[in-house]
Amino acid sequence: MTDTIVAPAPKVLPSVEPILRVVNVVKHFGAGVGSSVKAVDGVSFDVLPGETVGLVGESGCGKSTLGRLITQLIPVTSGEVYLNGVDITKLRGEKLRQQRKQLQMIFQDPYASLDPRMTVGDIIAEPLVNFKMIRGRAKDARVQELLRTVGLNPYFNNRYPHEFSGGQRQRIGIARALALNPKLIICDEPVSALDVSIQAQIINLLEDLQREFELTYLFIAHDLSVVRHISNRVMVMYLGKICEVAPSEDLYTSQEHPYTRALLSSIPVPDPRIESRRRLVELSGEIPSPLNPPSGCRFHTRCPIAQVPGVCADVEPPLELKGEGHLAACHFSEQVRTKIAVTN
C-alpha cells in the first residue's frame, strides 16, 4: 500500500492530537484457497476530538467492516488503529478491554442489538457491571439518569425491549453506549432502520448529546444526506478504499472524485423543481467484486472520465490534497466538475 496520507486536521483545530488515527488498515477475508475478499484495503484517516466524521458508501464498500476493525470486534489483517495514541491492534485480552472503555458503538438494528430477555435497566447497566464501575442504588440512579438523558421515562428501567418502538429502542442503545462516558462513539447506520419522522428525533438527540458530553462520532451510513447533515467532514468509500474526504460544506458544491459526483447526482431531493433539472450521472456496469478489484484506480471500470487504456487502468491514484481539507484519489480530479454534468 502506498497511500499513507492522513486526512489533515481542519483549520479550526490546529495541532490537536487525534482521538482516533487509522493507519493503512487492511482487512482481507479468506474466501477459499488463494483468494480473499479485500473488504478494506489500505485506509488511513484521523478523527479529532469533538468532531463528527461521516463515512459513506454503498453496500459492500467496506464501511461497516471498517467500523468493526476500529472497535476491534474483528482483527485487522494489517495496519494500525491508534486510540488516544495507543495502537489497539497490538493489544489483547484485559489491556484491550480497558482501552475499549473509551470507545462505544451504536448499531443499526435496534431490534437485534438489544437482548430481548434482559430488562432495559440491565441492558444499560451491563457496561457498568462489566467494568465493575458501580453497583446497587448508585447503579440504578445512573441508569435512570441515562434514560432521562436520551429522552425516555426513567421509570422504564424494568421493562423489556419488546415494549418499545424502534426509535425508543435506538435511544436505549444510545443510553448503553453513553454509560461508560466514552470519548468516541462509532455509529453504524444508527437511523437507517427508523421511520422518517423518528430519524430526525435520533439525529437531533445525537447532536445534543455531542454538545453536552463533548463526544466524537464516527458516523457510518449509506444515506449521504443524513451523513452530510451531521458530519463536519465526510469520507466517501468505494470498494474498500477511501476515494474522497471533504468538509461537509464543500461536498455538495465541489466534488473532486467522479464517484462522489455520481453518488450525489443520484440522491433524490424532496423538491420537484430541483428534481426536474437534475441529471443522473450514469455509472456503467455493476460494482466489481472485492475478490478481484480492478487494477489501477478501482473506479476506472465505471468512471465516465477514465482514460482506459491509460493511467487510470494502470496506476493507482493516491489520496492527495486537492483543496483546503479536501482530499481525493483521482488522476483527473480537475475534470470532474467540468466534464460530468449533473443538471440539464
Binding site: S59, N204, S265, E286
Partner: protein
C-alpha cells in the same frame, strides 16, 4: 379531464387480530388518470401498502376490505369473482414489490418467470413469448439480455432483479403499474437508475404508475400528483409542487422539515416530529395527528377533520391548515415542535408522560 382508470371510493381495510381490530385503512378515496404518476407517501403502518394490496385483492386473512368501491374501467373490483379478478391482475394492473429477491422464485430461470406472466394471460406461441421476454429485458436495460434471460435470480444483482420484476410487470402491457417501495432495498445509484427507468417507461408505454414510498425525494422526482397518508387516512392530496412548496397539513409540513436534504446549508436543526404514530387498534379521538401536532387547537381533540379543498387541486384534512399556522402561530420561525408548542394548546391530562416533555412545556398551559 379524461375518465380515471382507477377510482377508489371510501376504502376501509381492517385486520381482525387477537389483540383487536387493526383499522389499517379508513375511508380512503382517490383516483388515477390514464398515464398519470401518482405517489402515495407515508411512514410504516400508515396504510399505503395495504391500500395497494386492497386494490389488487391481495389482502389476506385476518385482513378484510370492510367497505368501499374500487372502480377499474367501470367495474368494481371488489365485486368480481376470483377468476375475473385474476384476469385483470397481472394483465391490466401489475404490481412490483419492494424486495426483488424474495419476490422471485430462486429455482426457476429469470426468463421462465417473465414468460410465465404472459402464458398466464394469453395463448401465444412459445417462441413469440421467448422473443418478447428478451425484448422486455432489453427494455428494462439489462445488458446482454439474450444470455441473461437464462440466468437464475441469484446470478442477478439487486438492481437487475428489480429490473426483471419490472419486465414481468410490463409483460402484458398493463394500464396501471403499482410499485410498492420499488427502490427501498437498493443502493442510491441503483435506485436512481430504476427511477429513471420507471419515468421513461411511463412516457413510452403510457402506463399509469402508483408509486408507494416513504422517501419524499423519490416522489418529487417521479410523480405528478401526491397523496400523503397518516395512520390509515389520506391527510393531504395535491400536485407535486403544491405538496412540496405549500403543504397545508401539519404532518406533510413537518415531514418535509424533518428530513436532511443533501442540498441544504449545514448547521440548521431538523424539525423532528415528536412522539410516535398512533396505535391503529386504539386510535385517538379527533384528528389522528393531534397527539404530535405543534399547531393543534381544541377542536382537534374531539372532531375528526374532513378532507377539504384548500387550493385548486389540493385537499387537506386539518382544522388549522398551515396557512393559518403561518399567519397566527409563527410557523415560519418555529423551533420547538413538541405537541401544541406553536398553538399553546396542551390540555391537562393529554400531555405526554413527564420524562418525554421538554422542561419548557412541562406545565400545562391553562386557558
Amino acid at each position: 379531464m379524461t375518465d380515471p382508470i382507477l377510482e377508489v371510493r371510501n376504502l376501509s381495510t381492517h385486520f381482525f387480530t387477537d389483540d383487536g381490530e387493526v383499522k389499517a385503512v379508513r375511508g380512503v378515496s382517490f383516483s388515477v388518470a390514464p398515464g398519470e404518476t401518482l405517489g402515495i407517501v407515508g411512514e410504516s403502518g400508515c396504510g399505503k401498502s395495504v391500500t395497494a394490496m386492497s386494490v389488487l385483492g391481495l389482502v389476506q386473512r385476518p385482513g378484510k376490505v370492510v367497505s368501499g368501491e374500487i372502480m377499474f374501467r367501470g367495474h368494481d373490483l371488489l365485486k368480481l369473482t376470483r377468476e375475473e379478478l385474476r384476469n385483470i391482475r397481472g394483465r391490466d394492473i401489475a404490481m412490483i414489490f419492494q424486495d426483488p429477491l424474495s419476490s422471485l422464485n430462486p429455482v426457476l430461470r429469470v426468463g421462465y418467470q417473465i414468460d410465465e406472466a404472459m402464458y398466464a394471460h394469453d395463448k401465444i406461441a412459445s417462441n413469440a413469448v421467448e422473443r418478447r421476454g428478451i425484448d422486455l429485458l432489453k427494455q428494462v436495460r439489462v445488458s446482454d439480455a439474450e444470455r441473461r434471460i437464462k440466468d437464475f435470480p441469484h446470478q442477478f444483482s439487486g438492481g437487475m432483479r428489480q429490473r426483471a420484476m419490472i419486465a414481468m410487470g410490463l409483460s402484458n402491457k398493463p394500464d396501471l403499474l403499482i410499485a410498492d417501495e420499488p427502490t427501498t432495498a437498493l443502493d442510491v445509484t441503483v435506485q436512481a437508475q430504476i427511477l429513471e427507468l420507471l419515468r421513461d417507461l411511463n412516457e413510452q408505454t403510457g402506463a399509469a404508475i402508483i408509486l408507494i414510498t416513504h422517501n419524499l425525494g423519490v416522489v418529487a422526482g417521479l410523480c405528478k400528483r401526491v397523496l400523503v397518508m397518516y395512520a390509515g387516512e389520506i391527510v393531504e392530496e395535491g400536485t407535486v409542487e403544491q405538496i412540496f412548496e405549500s403543504p397545508q397539513h401539519p404532518y406533510t409540513w413537518s415531514l418535509l422539515r424533518s428530513v436532511p436534504r443533501i442540498d441544504a446549508n449545514r448547521g440548521h436543526r431538523l424539525l423532528s416530529i415528536e412522539g410516535l404514530p398512533p396505535d391503529l387498534i386504539d386510535l385517538p379521538q379527533g384528528c389522528k395527528f393531534n397527539p404530535r401536532c405543534p399547531f393543534r387547537v381544541e377542536r382537534c381533540f374531539t372532531e375528526s377533520p374532513p378532507i377539504e379543498q384548500v387550493a385548486p387541486a389540493q385537499h387537506a384534512a386539518c382544522w388549522v391548515t398551515m396557512e393559518r399556522a403561518y399567519a397566527e402561530m409563527g410557523a415560519g420561525t418555529i423551533t420547538d415542535t413538541s405537541p401544541g408548542a406553536a398553538s399553546g394548546v396542551h390540555p391537562a391530562g393529554r400531555s405526554l408522560p413527564p420524562a418525554e416533555v421538554p422542561a419548557a412545556i412541562a406545565e400545562p398551559v391553562s386557558d
